[in-house]
Symmetry: C2
Subunit: 370 residues, 2 copies
């Protein structure tokens, strides 16, 4: 286990993100094996890493394609040679329609949406260009973000299925509510409930005469419970590629599966029991833990999870040392609560394979929220 | 008052940051006037905007120089022609020493620090290059982040003053604790207390035979109480240039002084009372309000502060509509809780002067946390 010691010594400028590519590859392979055994297609969400080389590793390990949230991410990934892309986000607005059509002309693009207001203009634009874009209907299985409820699904599926320019391809959910329940039992029950809703909706929509080729769920924490459930055909985990404190707290990863951390430097030791590090909210984000435990800290040392970032300013983190000796100039590796938005704050990451420095990789789709 | 209506219509891709340059100029002039009347030098912190053109506006309005946190910000600003820069951050590590020395050879650079461990290597490096860098000693006036307490200040000031390569120039604090107290009275009392500590420390250090040329405080919310206090020579506000929900809640700005907002698009109306917008934590940050009110929302509409972003995912915001009619495709302007880290998430901002589109400006020092 590296614990990022080589990175702590070799990286000159902090704060910086270190990625262990060996651990990343192992995480990718572990999820790929789970999908193979569970007989579902894997379509990882690249929002976590936003890096073309890692998307390629996922494809090489057997992923059927990738998932993105934003068109900007899709454009970067298509430019990097990824050819099968689900844009899991309602595409709205004239200029975004143009971008979607351009993308659909050069890659195998599918979309997800939850309303006719979104579907109709896309269908019209696609039809005008002679395209037929596969579409997944988003179902709300309990997160209460996007998606329609079970009772509205059939009618909407039929209406979408009737639009020229779109091809109704199935149903889609993000069972993110599984993150809000404590403990593996709650997580499992919440996941199984979502999977059951999806199976029921799929049957209902099929009984209305529509072809439901894809039944897609996805979140890293729920993978071990969802994959293999009846009716599920596709899974879209994101965070598993690196993992983070939340995944560990959810029992979805062990500390040694965490493949990314923020290397920081101690810049002050102003009083007993606390040191100040040079990573603040502009490096670690202000994201709290979603699960209840440790809600009030912003990260913990990889080497000792009892040493937590207890307060956070934009460029300062306050580390409660819990008896450890840390002095000005010392390096620490911080495991963030939530790795996805952390990567989005950094232009590049420092890639190591154990103690060996591999190189710096650009975060290709950083900031592509449009 | 524009309420960013032209931006809502003209900007094609969302989420996007809009800046009203007229309001920005008025905010800059208002603070500059306060400093002139209070007979203090103004040294704005550029962490809020990170843009060379806005730093130039601040200098043109009479600022003596700028404040930055990180060397990367200083390098960008020096490259943009800003010549008087306080790096208000302990510089630690060999490669950072090199960067600081290079910077000090091409701009008038001063630094702030709070320990001999930080001061000694800088002094040695500066002396070796024939430089003498002005240094401010950071005092903890209640934030409990960096800084030494009053009782340690004299001894440390003397030790720093004795180092060749450094010139002891005065004392420095960030009275950020003023943000944590509720209401203008609490804010005023907290600020006055910090100002009094600084005046006392300045006198103590002077009585020990050191020259205290600079007594520097700074935070936008406390400006109206701190500026003009006895002994204060310099003030370093940051957020005032744009303002945000926190500044309004602190009584430091009116809603019409808010010069930046995030333009977002409604992408779904999944249930009564809520719509989903395309701005999530990757555009708005997860920063809560520091003051107690509204702690649980992540932003509010500029046009109606009762319409709040009540939940936040990475690329989704859940807007509680509070009776307003919002439909898919509608644009909204969201006033963030804390504008500084929001700007840091965006590569560029869309600049308007009232209803007139001025152009896009790069966020020159975005992501320069090193």
């Amino acid at each position: 286990m590296t614990e990022f010691k080589a990175a702590m010594e070799l990286i000159e400028q902090t704060p910086a993100v270190v990625v262990d590519v060996g651990r990343t590859a192992a995480n990718i392979e572990r999820m790929a094996a789970m999908a193979r055994e569970g007989k579902v297609k894997l379509r990882p969400h690249i929002k976590t890493h936003k890096m073309v080389p890692i998307a390629r590793m996922q494809i090489a390990a057997g992923a059927a394609g990738i998932t993105v949230a934003k068109l900007g991410e899709a454009e970067v990934m298509a430019g990097g040679g990824i050819t099968d892309i689900l844009v899991a986000y309602p595409i709205v607005g004239a200029s975004n329609l143009d971008r979607l059509m351009s993308l659909a002309e050069r890659a195998k693009v599918s979309i997800a949406l939850d309303s006719l207001e979104v579907a109709r203009p896309i269908a019209a634009a696609a039809h005008a260009r002679g395209l037929e874009i596969p579409v997944l209907l988003e179902i709300d299985t309990g997160l209460h973000r996007l998606g329609v409820l079970q009772e509205s699904a059939i009618a909407l599926a039929k209406q979408i299925g009737a639009l020229r320019g779109l091809r109704f391809a199935g149903i889609f959910t993000h069972e993110g509510q599984a993150y809000t329940v404590s403990g593996p039992d709650g997580l499992r029950n919440s996941t199984l409930e979502a999977a059951q809703i999806m199976a029921e909706v799929a049957e209902l929509v099929r009984s209305a005469g529509l072809n439901v080729e894809t039944v897609s769920m996805g979140s890293s924490a729920s993978a071990r419970f969802a994959i293999g459930q009846p009716g599920l055909t596709e899974f879209r985990p994101g965070t598993y590629v690196f993992n983070d404190r939340t995944q560990v707290a959810q029992g979805a990863a062990a500390p040694e599966n965490c493949a990314a951390a923020v290397i920081a430097t101690v810049i002050s030791h102003p009083r007993d029991g606390e040191v100040i590090i040079d990573a603040g909210s502009k490096s670690l984000t202000s994201d709290r833990m979603i699960v209840s435990q440790s809600r009030h800290s912003y990260g913990a040392l990889v080497s000792d999870e009892s040493i937590e970032v207890v307060r956070l300013h934009e460029e300062h983190g306050v580390l409660k040392t819990n008896g450890a000796t840390l002095k000005v100039g010392d390096r620490v590796a911080v495991l963030p609560n939530h790795i996805c938005p952390v990567i989005n704050l950094h232009d590049r990451v420092f890639v190591f394979d154990g103690d060996e420095f591999v190189g710096t990789w650009a975060v290709d789709a950083r900031g592509r929220s449009q």
